[in-house]
């Protein structure tokens, strides 16, 4: 059976798969991670705020995002954002939002909910006394968060944040439902054009596996390297 496979199709399509597909996938992953962690951290600070409306709003947002399938969120934003944009800008026509921008926004908003929960655990892992020490020295809330609490929370949570990012890297393949040429999208286009579904999907799986496995290995290495001197 294997004899009937055409492995050559992979080699022929490599430039397209990586230059177009993987570039999109990696760019989307990095941007969504970057903005997702920033938004997630702000959400975590809101959830831990003693000002109830903030905590409730952030909590509601996080629970909503974590309770709906990602594909649905992708559809919502792709189809709704142009209308919401038009409504905000008071235009009659739906505004044009590119597939790329739309997916960055979607993944940022979705992943932020998960990063939020990680950062919330990270912030709570910092002893209360550290906050007291910051305040007692005259630092205000933002200075105490920025210089004392968050650096330690990030350090403690770095492995979990990166593991979540590996999941995000895999999740980005879902944008193929919007016919976007990410890595999976590119492969699937070739697969259908050349009628080589099995070969291409096997190859895609192997590439995702190698990259994710390698990243997990790096996370483990990093964990040892970033340990604070004198603290295990």
């Amino acid at each position: 059976m294997l004899a009937s496979f055409d492995w050559d199709v992979i080699q022929r399509s490599l430039p397209y798969l990586f230059r177009e597909g993987m570039t999109f996938t990696v760019t989307l992953t990095v941007l969504a991670m970057f903005f997702g962690i920033i938004l997630g951290t702000l959400l975590a600070m809101m959830r831990l705020s003693s000002f109830k409306p903030l905590a409730v709003a952030a909590g509601g947002y996080v629970n909503l995002m974590r309770s709906v399938p990602l594909v649905l969120v992708i559809f919502w934003f792709y189809f709704l954002v142009p209308y919401i944009g038009a409504w905000i800008l008071r235009q009659n026509e739906p505004i044009k939002v590119g597939a790329f921008l739309s997916s960055v926004v979607t993944f940022t908003l979705f992943e932020a909910a998960y990063y939020c929960e990680i950062m919330r655990a990270g912030i709570q892992s910092i002893p209360r006394g550290q906050v007291w020490a910051g305040y007692a020295l005259g630092l205000n809330y933002w200075q105490t968060m920025g210089n004392v609490v968050l650096p330690q929370a990030f350090r403690n949570m770095m492995p979990v944040l990166l593991t979540q990012t590996i999941i995000l890297f895999q999740d980005t393949s879902l944008v193929y439902v919007l016919s976007i040429t990410d890595f999976l999208g590119a492969a699937s286009k070739i697969a259908q054009r050349d009628g080589r579904l099995v070969e291409m999907y096997l190859f895609v799986a192997v590439v995702y596996f190698i990259i994710s496995y390698f990243l997990s290995y790096l996370v483990k290495r990093l964990q040892l390297r970033i340990a604070v001197p004198g603290k295990l």
């Binding site: 006394g129 020490a133 305040y135 007692a136 020295l137 005259g138």
Partner: protein
């Protein structure tokens, strides 16, 4: 002149009252020791001085500025009062130098060079100059607490608060911390110290406050407190911690 003035401070956790009408003061250059059984509210009381613990009734004035007044610039007020904690609370992700410099730069607006120099001066005073580049986790408990004292002093505070500074230390490290505190007291620093170290109290305290169940039971000159404590509860407390 009162540097710290507490007027009828009361505090509740829910319905449970942890402080009841606490009134006392610490004059400039005075050393006041606060003692009492555990759970008596002494740590809570000292944290009310710089509003780390909010309180529902009464007021605290630090150098004449109300802590409870919503218009008060709390960070500024706090930066003028040094505080040393039971568990040191150095920032573990920063070197000793950065621990000393952080608030000087962020709060007082000093340059990094100036902040480092001033930090080094106080680090030298607590005898740890050669540890400047280390991280807190690489120091012993006693050394960490001395760094914490230096960190407080680098802000040029008008008073220092100590919240059980030796309670988390191994016995052989207690004296190195107390020595620094005694020296500080003898140089005229205004100090409010929550501690069980009665030797320290005898040596440098001007007054001793005895607390029990959230109340200030006794507030007396040192010799009066140790010589003839008035309340039964203070007598019992002293007999428990002095005779063993």
């Amino acid at each position: 002149m009162a540097m710290i003035e507490m007027k009828n401070v009361s505090k509740w956790y829910g319905t449970f009252q942890v402080l009841t009408n606490c009134t006392t003061s610490v004059d400039k250059g005075e050393v006041v020791v606060v003692c009492g059984p555990s759970g008596s509210g002494k740590s809570t009381l000292i944290k009310c001085v710089n509003a780390l613990e909010p309180f529902q009734k009464g007021d605290v004035l630090v150098d004449g500025v109300s802590v409870a007044d919503p218009k008060t610039d709390l960070p500024k007020l706090r930066s003028r009062v040094g505080m040393v904690f039971q568990h040191f609370e150095l920032f573990p992700h920063m070197s000793v130098t950065d621990n000393l410099a952080l608030a000087q730069i962020k709060v007082l607006g000093r340059s990094r060079g100036e902040a480092t120099a001033r930090g080094m001066k106080y680090l030298d005073r607590v005898g740890l100059k050669e540890h400047a580049h280390k991280y807190p986790g690489q120091l012993s408990g006693g050394q960490q607490q001395r760094v914490a004292i230096a960190r407080g002093l680098s802000m040029d505070p008008i008073a220092m608060l100590f919240d059980e500074p030796t309670s988390a230390l191994d016995p052989e490290m207690i004296n190195e911390v107390l020595d620094v505190m005694v020296q500080l007291a003898q140089e005229g620093m205004t100090m409010m110290v929550v501690t069980h170290e009665m030797g320290f109290a005898r040596k440098v305290a001007n007054r001793v406050i005895f607390m029990d169940r959230g109340e200030i039971v006794e507030d007396a000159k040192k010799d009066d407190f140790f010589g003839k404590p008035r309340s039964e509860r203070a007598v019992q407390f002293l007999s428990k911690i002095l005779h063993h």
